[in-house]
């Protein structure tokens, strides 16, 4: 395998690639961090806002922080008559009227704004409540966006929305989106704008079972996708078997390797540490880009 710089046509430049896996710990961050580093220039967005790890690898500089806030209702005691219309309206049970005043369970509020609309006394207004932060920074050839959900907060969706929206400003760039594990709303939000999805799977029955779940998810959203098999060992690979049965494109394989494992556990970017991994991930990046270009032509984003 020879190292070849990835071509920088406009088509490639504006590609958004989401890296996901149903199961946690399969190597999403390993793959997205190293692919982003192997590209000539790229943007990396860490959407795993519950447990963000990308910044530990990139150790960015020129950090700018931005607070992410959601709107929550706030009652003017003098105007509230205790009619409970807002309490009845709120489907999330985030409001209660007790002890002569309106109580807002801030953690449960989904910020729909319904209570403010239904209040006949105009007693409710909205105030901002911080749920987390976004850090923007630079690390060599990579521009970094990391979201951090405040512990105790239930949903990171507002942070992801804001990061992905902000990133539209720099549309003309190759972007890697490091997604949270699972297949629920937070993952959906992360892949919504992606042009291509890379599914990372590990060689266990857990891995195969959860690969099936994200496979269903990307199919449901009509996203072109391919699989990278990580931690490949000799012997049985249930995830590979699943891909073969479903006729899913295997973009590449990363073999279980102590050296890579150690680098990764020390939050080192393998591509920046050794020629061997630079060559390996550059070649993997080429395969991903080839598949992504092919995938998006054959199956354009809806």
């Amino acid at each position: 395998m020879k190292f070849m710089p990835v071509s920088t046509t406009t088509e490639v430049n504006s590609m958004k690639i989401a890296v996901l896996s149903g199961k946690g710990g399969t190597g999403k961050t390993l793959v997205s961090v190293n692919l982003a580093s192997a590209a000539k220039a790229s943007i990396y967005i860490d959407c795993d806002v519950e447990e963000p790890n990308g910044h530990l690898f990139f150790k960015p500089s020129n950090i700018k922080e931005e607070i992410v806030a959601v709107k929550i209702p706030f009652a003017d005691k003098a105007l509230c008559t205790g009619c409970r219309k807002c309490v009845d309206f709120c489907r999330f049970n985030a409001l209660a009227y007790a002890g002569g005043q309106l109580k807002v369970f801030e953690n449960i509020c989904h910020s729909c704004g319904g209570c403010v609309l239904v209040c006949p006394e105009n007693a409710l207004t909205e105030k901002e409540r911080t749920v987390g932060i976004i850090q923007k920074g630079e690390s060599g050839n990579v521009s970094l966006y990391s979201g951090f959900l405040n512990p105790g907060e239930p949903s990171g969706v507002p942070i992801i929305k804001k990061m992905i929206h902000d990133n539209n400003l720099k549309r003309a760039s190759l972007t890697f989106i490091d997604c949270p594990p699972g297949s629920a709303c937070i993952v959906m939000e992360s892949i919504k704008d992606a042009d291509y999805c890379v599914l990372v799977a590990e060689p266990t029955i857990f891995g195969a079972h959860n690969l099936n779940m994200v496979y269903e998810l990307v199919k449901l959203f009509g996203k072109p996708f391919g699989v990278i098999l990580n931690k490949c060992l000799d012997g049985e690979n249930p995830s590979q078997k699943f891909c073969e049965e479903q006729d899913i494109e295997i973009i590449g394989r990363i073999y279980y390797d102590n050296e890579l494992g150690t680098l990764n556990s020390n939050a080192k970017i393998a591509v920046r540490e050794s020629e061997k991994y630079k060559t390996m991930f550059a070649s993997l990046l080429q395969s991903v880009m080839r598949e992504a270009r092919h995938g998006t032509t054959v199956n354009p984003k809806r």
């Binding site: 199961k23 946690g24 710990g25 795993d48 239930p154 699972g182 939050a267």
Partner: protein
């Protein structure tokens, strides 16, 4: 019932493998899988009987009757979740709709109704033990609510069980928070990587804000001894009971892939997890609620 919840913050550290071992070792009469996003416990806990399955209804989803719609655009402007499209007709994107009902409220034509929507499936096995699990429909919200239902289902089907093991989900968000409620102890399965350490601190902070007792073990501890030592040191500093270390063991992968429990094999990881188990139980039984059951023995 004494409830032990297994969490990790970071995914893939070995929660399910440890949970499976604990269920076997304790002969727990009740256990549950709260990772409704990507449930796996059923893969290593084969069941003799068929499950009882029931639909899980999350919040309703809005639907627009295009015949009644007057295209005033109020619904689209009022929706905070960008769930209403007006490409041709006004339609609701069911994946974005959170079911708040604002659109129905603002619609002047009565064209919008809120309709019940299935957002997952609850699954209950009742053999010698009760096993409660579920899976969330693709791309659904409401995972916290489904987690609460999994636990409710487990509690009502195994009201007399003294000990329950619950497998949690990765992260620190709503499903995790929902699973912590009612747990008597959280056992964190940590991984000795820089990422793992960062994630442990975040799950500890989250668990502590709910005032639950914490214990921690390290899985695959020998892949990075320096990081293992920092986690042990962190536990001392943070006042978390450290209950042991499990080595990386290819036989554990083999066990999982053959749908078995690591305690079924005489392997290094299996032996280590037994030690982690006995220390965890000691701590649990020393707790306020544990004392009540201690004389009966767990299980």
């Amino acid at each position: 019932m004494v409830q032990l919840l297994i969490l990790s913050g970071k995914g893939g550290t070995g929660k399910t493998t440890v949970a499976g071992a604990f269920i076997e070792l304790s002969a727990a009469k009740a256990y549950g899988d709260c990772d409704v996003d990507a449930p796996n416990l059923h893969l290593i806990m084969p069941q003799q009987t068929d499950a009882v399955k029931s639909d899980f209804y999350g919040l309703p989803k809005a639907g627009i009757d295009t015949g009644l719609c007057v295209r005033c655009d109020f619904c689209r402007q009022s929706c905070r979740f960008d769930a209403i499209d007006n490409d041709n007709d006004y339609t609701v994107n069911p994946f974005a709709c959170e079911g708040c009902g604002v659109c129905e409220y603002v619609c002047p034509a009565g064209a919008i109704t809120m309709n019940p929507a299935v957002s997952g499936e609850l699954i209950l096995y009742t053999n010698n033990s009760v096993f409660s699990t579920a899976h969330l429909k693709m791309g659904s919200g409401n995972s916290g609510k489904l987690v609460s239902e999994v636990k409710k289902q487990m509690l009502s089907a195994a009201a007399n069980a003294e000990f329950a093991v619950v497998d949690g989900s990765p992260g620190i968000g709503c499903p995790v928070i929902a699973s912590i409620s009612g747990a008597d102890m959280v056992l964190i399965v940590a991984e000795p990587s820089v990422s793992g350490i960062s994630d442990v601190k975040r799950i500890v902070e989250t668990s502590k804000s709910f005032g639950v007792q914490l214990a921690l073990c390290i899985n695959k501890y020998d892949i990075n001894m320096t990081n293992t030592q920092s986690i042990e040191a962190y536990c001392i500093k943070a006042g978390i009971d450290f209950v042991g270390k499990i080595p990386f063991d290819p036989q554990a992968v083999e066990a999982v892939n053959s749908g078995k429990n690591i305690t079924d094999f005489d392997c290094l990881a299996g032996r280590a997890v037994r030690e982690v188990y006995s220390r965890t139980v000691q701590l649990l039984m020393a707790g306020e609620k544990g004392v009540k059951y201690a004389h009966k023995g767990i299980g």
